[in-house]
Amino acid sequence: MAIHRPHFPDLLFDQTARFRAWEQELSQLFRARGYRELSPSLVMSKMREGAVRCIDGEHIVGLRWDFTEALADLLALRFDAPPGRVSYRGAVFRRPAHEWEPVERFEVGVESITGPEDVQAADRELVRLLLEVPAQVGLRGCAVQLGSAALLAEPLRVEAIPVAVATEVATWLSRRAPHRVYDALDGSPARARLVAHAECLLAGDIAKSPYAGQLEGAYRELLDTENVARAAISADVGPHAVTLRVDTADVAGFAFYTGPTLRLWAPHAAFELGAGGRYDGLYPQLGKPWHAAGFCIRLARLLDLADAHPELFTQVAT
């Protein structure tokens, strides 16, 4: 059998020092905010399509592709009550969306797994925590984007749009392409209503949407999160001050996320540096009626950015 070596990043001295420093800074921050670290196994207990696999004798082993799922398997099995704040750090192995992306990616992140009464508090805490991240890694000029996949999921559910079409609609809306949303809904009796809704999301004008009545709750959640973030940002005028953007058309991941979503960007970055949001559907699937939200910071992408644009960092650890 031929040995395949996809793009795994080797880190040399400077990169390793930078990577370890960031990992430590962020872990300390999370610990200081009450997040307890867990380390789920590098080997997943189940397999899914697209997982990076190894051969072990007669067996196939799936490598950890995502911390959220790895943690959910672990926590749902080991805990009777929602464990609250948890954090993690380590590598995940994913088939890249683009050939230049590495297969092995380093991440640090947090999850807040609670009962229904703590959902709002957890969302607010997470957005405040994400806003602290750029200062920890010395990155300036960052933007945090808030979205809500729920603003699309509910109308698609009401109109009974098939999953494949719904996925296409979400993709094109997230890419700000209403003309493509129109194409994707060819033949659907709900086409005119959903395209009108897409236009409203792009304009940030939910009140004019044909589904405005059904979306009040989801929209209010997003606005609450925005208010908390604005209050946190207004106090910070330093070099690491973050710009906040709300994009109601950011509905990416609508099949997974059920509430507000967060993304961390920097100028010149090809990809988001951090991402997350509320996903209340995962734990019930594992038999636990828990609510969950979190975000992860993609250290591999931060390392790439520091190599390509060191001027974006106030200090680059070496």
Binding site: R176, R180, W265
Partner: protein
């Protein structure tokens, strides 16, 4: 900070430059064979690239904006913002076969071979139609493939259909309409949405 806009080479690029050439986002100097020139708008530079490459430059946030055919965009399927359908370079991505051969004839073939440059888009269409076929990837002169026995039919861009007729082929099924799209790097849009929206509106207005 200088911002890069990528314009396509070829027919779509010619059509675009005809419309946009005298606007603020036209080249400030005659590009000749240069691949990078300043635009009239201060702080903006233009690069001229082939479709598939152009998508990569925007996807990696090297160029903040770009104009590219939806054919090239669909083949890459990357996470870039598609801000407008400019309606330029309109044509169709179609299945064409030798005269007298219908889509039904092709679907009944035990081993259908389709020559195309557009492998991803063709495969999606085949999946939707429930047809299986061997895709023969070619990059140019696709129309020759059926006549020389390399494929039973082709999937290629059709504008007037004259090249097809001259090579004994007929368009039998339109897979999708193709036109020039204005795309933006997600990172660039997030970093400065006002500037990107302003430049995008200049391009949309000039190319109308």
């Amino acid at each position: 900070m200088t911002l890069l806009i990528a314009y396509p080479k070829g027919r779509l690029g010619d059509e675009l430059l005809e419309k946009i050439g005298v606007s603020a986002l036209g080249p400030a100097v005659d590009p000749g064979r240069a691949l990078k020139v300043p635009a009239r708008e201060p702080g903006v530079e233009l690069v001229f690239l082939k479709g598939a490459d152009l998508v990569e430059y925007v996807a990696r946030n090297v160029a903040a904006l770009g104009v590219v055919g939806s054919d090239a965009l669909d083949e890459k399927d990357v996470d870039v913002l598609e801000l407008a359908d400019l309606g330029l370079g309109r044509c169709r991505l179609s299945v064409s076969a030798p005269v007298g051969v219908s889509l039904g004839d092709l679907a009944k073939k035990k081993h259908l071979r389709l020559a195309t440059k557009f492998v991803r888009r063709t495969q999606r269409w085949l999946d939707r139609q429930g047809i299986t076929a061997e895709l023969v990837p070619l990059t140019s002169s696709i129309e020759l493939a059926p006549a020389l026995g390399l494929a039973d039919a082709i999937v290629d861009l059709v504008q007037t259909g004259r090249t097809l007729v001259e090579n004994g082929l007929l368009e039998i099924e339109c897979i999708t309409q193709v036109s020039g799209r204005l795309i933006a790097a997600r990172g660039a849009y997030l970093a400065d949405p006002r500037r990107i929206d302003h430049l995008a509106s200049l391009i949309v207005r000039a190319s109308a």
